[in-house]
Symmetry: C2
């Protein structure tokens, strides 16, 4: 796959680390459903973590079929042409993580640092962490600058 | 389906009319793909229009399977809890519109008023308008305020 220049790589890392809410695509009765979710990327971009309730439609969808897509987009700043906004679409599989252990504690600490108001969700039995592990990514760095990325290219952008 | 109170209805109309870019979920080889797209809602909320290139993955997807979802979300303003951001997820079918005629001219005028920098896309043969007609919608007006809406409820919010 075509690899990114240094500028695009910096832009991608800023996008993935800076954007707090993303659009999650799941399969619901075979059709797409897109929901807004809060996200926490792993520092090495090997996965993007979600903390979701099993009562939510998208969680039920991921339990039924792990194939998901996650669009992380620069916020619309009112510019004349919003097609120049940077965005990356990940495609991959979602896996539910256990509600205890070292990984859970590490993610909980990072999640609460990013989303301090979400403390209450850790008191509720229906919330769990999920990891979305990308199989590939399509990064639009602006008009006409599109890169198809492998998981390895994503990880290189994290360095 | 549960109907909205007046406050929620005003919030929904502001969201659908005010947000310029949305997350489009399509089916790609049976898996979800989420892409950022510019949107133009019909004034009566009977549909949301897109102006897309047939070279784009999401357009190829819609040609292969018309089932889509569209998430229209309030911009993250940095608030402590982004889960309180308003958003609506439409689910429905996408249809390609002809590149001439009264509807085309009306949409072109409205599109250029909203996206003045996109004039060049009307010179390119590969761009077309598409209509996403919602079959239903799920509106999250804030934490714990979720409404399942029919197309009729959506239209009532447009008045």
């Amino acid at each position: 796959m075509a690899d990114m220049d240094a500028d695009a790589s910096v832009l991608l890392a800023r996008l993935i680390r800076g954007v707090r809410v993303a659009a999650l695509g799941t399969l619901r009765q075979g059709a797409p459903l897109v929901s807004m979710v809060a996200i926490l990327p792993e520092p090495d971009f090997s996965a993007v973590c979600l903390h979701v309730s099993r009562l939510a439609w998208h969680t039920q969808d991921m339990l039924a079929d792990p194939r998901v897509s996650l669009s992380i987009a620069e916020l619309d700043d009112g510019r004349a042409d919003p097609q120049t906004l940077a965005r990356v679409a990940l495609r991959g599989e979602a896996t539910k993580l256990p509600g205890e252990g070292e990984t859970f504690e590490r993610l909980k600490t990072a999640w609460l640092a990013r989303f301090p108001e979400s403390a209450v969700t850790f008191e509720l039995a229906d919330f769990s962490f999920w990891r979305v592990v990308p199989r590939d990514a399509r990064f639009v760095a602006g008009l006409g600058r599109t890169f198809n990325l492998s998981p390895e290219s994503l990880r290189r952008a994290a360095i």
